[in-house]
């Protein structure tokens, strides 16, 4: 599968008022972040879609994120929040799991006073329910929580756990032994994966970016190409660097991998671990394998990179409306236009792959029986 997924982004609106941590002092973050702004960053990086992660400890925010996801084909999944202490938590998990885009939950462990909060047996039923519904447990933790998560992974071997931002080590030098050892113990558990994300914001100012790469290498070495998920942690990332800088830095880090391994880290692992429904992104439909045009399932914009089926991508050259055709391959003058596996006319001008195909560059080849009977050629 050749699909790039940013496994960790946020969208928020401070006016919603339930974020707690998001204070006006956080200049740069204390504003609305919406889908359009994110989409503009994903396009140039050829990122096909994202996993949207909660930022407020409320069910209302999860509803808000799922609302966005329902309207946005390229939001492949949402990691939401549930109240682990609710009396009916097992029912809550079951109810949330019915939403096809709810792929995981994340209690905000890093903000809780007790580093072993999650170990309390009263929270076990919720974890068991998550596992039985195939939902991921996203662990938002600091290095001091690693021991607790290790125990959870042991107690719940069927629960899929994803460590956010490599457990957020403070990065000012080469990786320290304690963090590295903790991550090694987590990686020894098959049900634990790790996001390669959020490291630039952990870098102490005025220290070398090389330390970030060194930490990323540790994650890659320990979790390997099958359990490492690439993500950006945008817009938190913008505190340290623009989206493109993180994208390029991680491309360098991943360059030592094989193409297959790189694809896994950049999207395949997220798709597998979060059970993402990637079909949601299709902007055009291929009606027959022999067709040289595809049909838009929604309006598409010039420059938009759209996916067709599981494997194919196409960069759209002209805007086109629902029901209109985009050339899947370049068409020469006279090339038959094939849709439904049959000719529907021929090109009257050259059309590049991605170009809009319509009356301005194709014509009908149909000669009516009436005209044929009169000996005409239909022109």
């Amino acid at each position: 599968m050749n699909i790039v997924v940013d496994a960790h982004v946020h969208l928020w609106d401070p006016a919603r008022g339930d974020y707690g941590w998001l204070k006006p002092e956080l200049t740069g973050l204390y504003r609305r972040f919406e889908v359009q702004e994110l989409h503009a960053l994903l396009e140039p990086a050829h990122v096909d879609g994202v996993v949207l992660v909660q930022a407020a400890p409320t069910a209302a925010e999860t509803d808000y994120l799922l609302g966005i996801a329902e309207q946005t084909p390229w939001v492949f999944g949402v990691v939401g929040w549930i109240d682990f202490d609710a009396e009916n938590v097992v029912d809550v998990v079951a109810s949330r799991a019915r939403h096809r885009k709810l792929v995981g939950v994340r209690p905000m462990l890093q903000d809780l006073d007790d580093p072993e909060w999650i170990l309390n047996p009263t929270r076990a039923p919720a974890l068991t329910a998550l596992a039985s519904h195939g939902l991921v447990f996203d662990a938002l933790i600091h290095p001091q929580h690693i021991g607790a998560i290790e125990q959870i992974a042991e107690r719940h071997p069927d629960l899929s756990i994803v460590i956010d931002h490599a457990a957020k080590p403070i990065i000012s030098a080469q990786p320290d032994l304690a963090w590295r050892d903790g991550m090694r113990r987590l990686a020894a558990r098959n049900n634990v994966a790790c996001k390669l994300s959020g490291l630039l914001t952990q870098l102490v100012p005025n220290t070398s970016e090389e330390h970030v790469s060194a930490h990323a290498e540790v994650v890659m070495d320990l979790f390997g190409p099958c359990r490492t998920l690439w993500g950006s942690d945008w817009p938190v990332l913008t505190q340290a660097a623009p989206y493109s800088q993180w994208f390029e830095l991680t491309q360098q880090i991943l360059s030592r991998l094989s193409a297959t391994e790189r694809r896994a880290v950049l999207g395949g692992n997220a798709a597998r671990i979060y059970h993402l429904d990637l079909r949601a992104q299709a902007a055009a439909i291929l009606l027959h394998p022999a067709d040289n045009v595809v049909v838009c399932c929604r309006p598409v914009a010039a420059g938009e990179r759209i996916r067709i089926g599981e494997q194919e991508h196409l960069v759209v050259l002209d805007p086109a409306e629902l029901g209109h055709k985009i050339a899947r391959r370049a068409l020469q003058v006279g090339t038959k236009v094939i849709k439904y596996g049959a000719s529907i006319g021929s090109a009257t001008a050259a059309v590049a792959a991605g170009g809009w195909v319509h009356l301005h560059n194709m014509k009908s080849d149909y000669i009516s029986p009436h005209t044929r009977a009169l000996g005409g050629d239909g022109s």
Binding site: L287, K339, A342, I344, G345, L359, Y366, P369, H370
Partner: protein
């Protein structure tokens, strides 16, 4: 697939067991409708022919419909002086083994008496049907499934129609008889269509039927490529037609039939609905239900109706399954839509998945599950004047001689 069908004396099997109350001229329509209203039963349906002047096509159609496999009993309602041969129709129904009765309003003594007698007659017919009811296992190779489209929009040709095409492929592969129609919507597809013909004679019949449709619609001043089609993204006549034609799937076309000609062997058929001869009585079919009625007269047990903008119709005699290709239409009119093929547009399902879903629904409806329109009491029916010559030899396969 196997479920219990209603066995008729002529050997055919139905998926419903209804009484039809048939008026034989518009003058008898009110009495017939009041009889049906008074019965107020799901299995008593109103049908009829409004014309006073004779028409061979209408006679053949009424004979075929009154002996449809879903029909167990027939009440004919005649004014008395119309030209329709009510005795001939009654004999034809009785000969098929179905129960039949006739009310002649002029003989009954007027409207009220005729209605009272009609209500009693229906009750008596139902009693006889119940006493004679035979349920037997029915297989896919005894099922006839038809398809039409109506209220199409830009989504129809890319979601609902190809999904029905996939369903047709599966049904034909399982031995069913499938019928598609509306040659006027397939002008420009005769080449690919003829290439799918099972025999050279069928290929010839396909090409001839399209040429006839083209000439007929040209004479009516319709049937060409319209500006609205281009706005929706269609660039040519053949592309527009391909969007309708794709409902037929990809199985070989084993025959071309005309209204009231009943396929004798399973497979995929094209129904030629355009009248023969010089254009005479106006448009070939004045509305979607006129086409559904012709499909039923060819034995269709149920009809797959694809729609973009959202048709609400059902039909007397045979259930209609509505498949919308537009997700917005589905959300707006979910109470009328049986299948949401619009999920294909939103990436929630593939054509194959929706095709499989349609087949599963066909099986459930055949086994008795009511469709949305059926449950809401939609029983539309319309039959008007047309002219047809019988199909020539070779247009469709005949069953081996039955002893």
């Amino acid at each position: 697939m196997s479920f219990n069908g209603f066995l008729r004396s002529d050997g055919r099997k139905g998926i419903r067991n209804v009484v039809i109350v048939a008026y034989l001229v518009e003058c008898a329509h009110h009495v017939a409708r009041r009889i049906v209203d008074r019965c107020d039963a799901e299995d008593v349906h109103l049908v009829g022919f409004p014309g006073c002047y004779p028409n061979q096509y209408a006679t053949r159609m009424m004979k075929a419909l009154a002996t449809h496999p879903n029909v167990g009993g027939v009440l004919l309602v005649s004014l008395g002086c119309e030209s329709f041969n009510r005795e001939g129709l009654a004999r034809h129904v009785a000969h098929s083994g179905r129960v039949v009765d006739t009310i002649v309003i002029q003989q009954a003594g007027g409207t009220r008496t005729a209605i009272d007698r009609g209500v009693a007659a229906v009750a008596a017919l139902k009693e006889k049907m119940a006493a004679a009811e035979v349920r037997v296992p029915m297989q896919m190779n005894e099922l006839v499934v038809a398809t039409i489209c109506g209220g199409s929009d830009g989504t129809s040709g890319i979601t609902a129609n190809p999904a029905v095409g996939r369903a047709f492929d599966r049904l034909v592969a399982q031995g069913a008889t499938c019928i598609f129609e509306e040659t006027g919507e397939m002008i420009g597809c005769e080449g690919p269509m003829a290439a799918r013909a099972a025999t050279p004679a069928v290929a010839e019949a396909i090409v001839a039927s399209i040429a006839k449709a083209e000439a007929y619609y040209r004479a009516m001043g319709f049937g060409s490529f319209a500006p609205g089609n281009a706005e929706g993204g269609l660039s040519s006549q053949e592309e527009k037609s391909a969007g309708a034609y794709v409902k037929s799937g990809s199985s070989p076309i084993v025959g071309v039939i005309k209204p009231a000609e009943i396929p004798e062997v399973p497979g995929l058929y094209l129904l030629d609905v355009v009248p023969d001869g010089a254009p005479k009585f106006g448009f070939p079919n004045i509305s979607d239900n006129a086409e559904i009625v012709e499909l039923m007269a060819c034995g269709a047990h149920l009809t797959l109706f694809t729609t973009g903008r959202g048709s609400v119709v059902g039909s007397a005699i045979a259930p209609v399954i509505k498949v919308t290709g537009n997700p917005d239409t589905y959300r707006r009119m979910a109470e009328d839509m049986d299948v949401n093929a619009g999920r294909i547009l939103e990436g929630q399902a593939s054509l194959d998945e929706v095709g499989a879903e349609i087949v599963a629904l066909v099986e459930a409806v055949a086994a008795g599950q009511p469709t949305k329109s059926e449950a809401m009491g939609h029983r539309e029916f319309i039959l008007t004047y047309k002219t047809f010559e019988p199909s020539g030899p070779g247009c469709f396969p005949r069953a081996a001689h039955r002893g």
